[in-house]
Amino acid sequence: MTSTPSDEPWRICYRELAPKLILFARQWVPSIADAEDVVQTALVKFWRRQPDALPEHYPLLYSAVRSTALDQLRGDHRRARREADPAVDVLREDQPFFDPGVDQRETAVFVEQAMRRLPPEQREVLALRIWGELTFAEIAETLGESINTVASRHRYALEALRRVLKSYEPERIRA
């Protein structure tokens, strides 16, 4: 059976993961346009190595997104230095991270604000664990860290979120 464009393995993978990958990339690069470029490059790299795009290889895709985002960030910093601009401010763009339902808008704003205050290493673990739905073992593999380290970062991130969210009475989260 010939595969049609809509059921190619990468398209199935894309439709399942694109919003999660973009959210993950946005933890590193400053704009949603940059994040989309990162995801595009990472998908092509991943597909070149893993043409079947099997779910067990998805952690490698997150890893490709991370390395591409960091490369792009290094390039941005180099460019900023060359042009004597102020340092590139990661997460400066105001496009929201989430597509909240009607009753989640306020929660989404507070969660996003809380995430932006986290250190990058906690933010990336949180994004992989909560929205990427990876296990701690898979996150450890993606980041090249130990399972204990990523579990600790996740715990610290949740604790920080809990503290921030405690300061208001959202519709869905009462921390």
Partner: protein, 160 residues
Amino acid sequence: MNLNESELEEQLRLLRPRAANPELEERVAAAMSREIVPAAAILRRSRPEAAPFVRWLQGIGWAVAGAAAAVAAIVILNPRADRPAGIAAVTVEVFEPTESTEELVTAEDEGLVLASDQELVRQVRYHSLERHVWVNPQTGARMEFEIPREDLRFMPVAMQ
């Protein structure tokens, strides 16, 4: 009301990441087709069978070209190495490293092993690909090369 860790996680999961721009899927498709078309074209290309002597000459040609490329790479990448005075130093100075990336290709969990201090650790083998780009800023000439790399990492295991 206080949520425990897993309840807080569940509540956070209810927030859905912002949907991807609809145009992105087609941009990815276009990028992928740019990747695959030249390779497929090369695979489909049929060549007339060359005479044995011509094949031997082609083999010599490729060997000479490979050796020349290797010598050029060594000279360019190792400018401080001793070399005959006849090789112009100007070649060394025109290329500058502009980009180095490392892409993780596979990670294999090889299970638990005992480290030298009798501590239990998890052995993970990573295969990655280093990609380096050198550019001549005057001419725009670009040299790219890839180096496969294998790393064995030992991660501490928490014993509960």
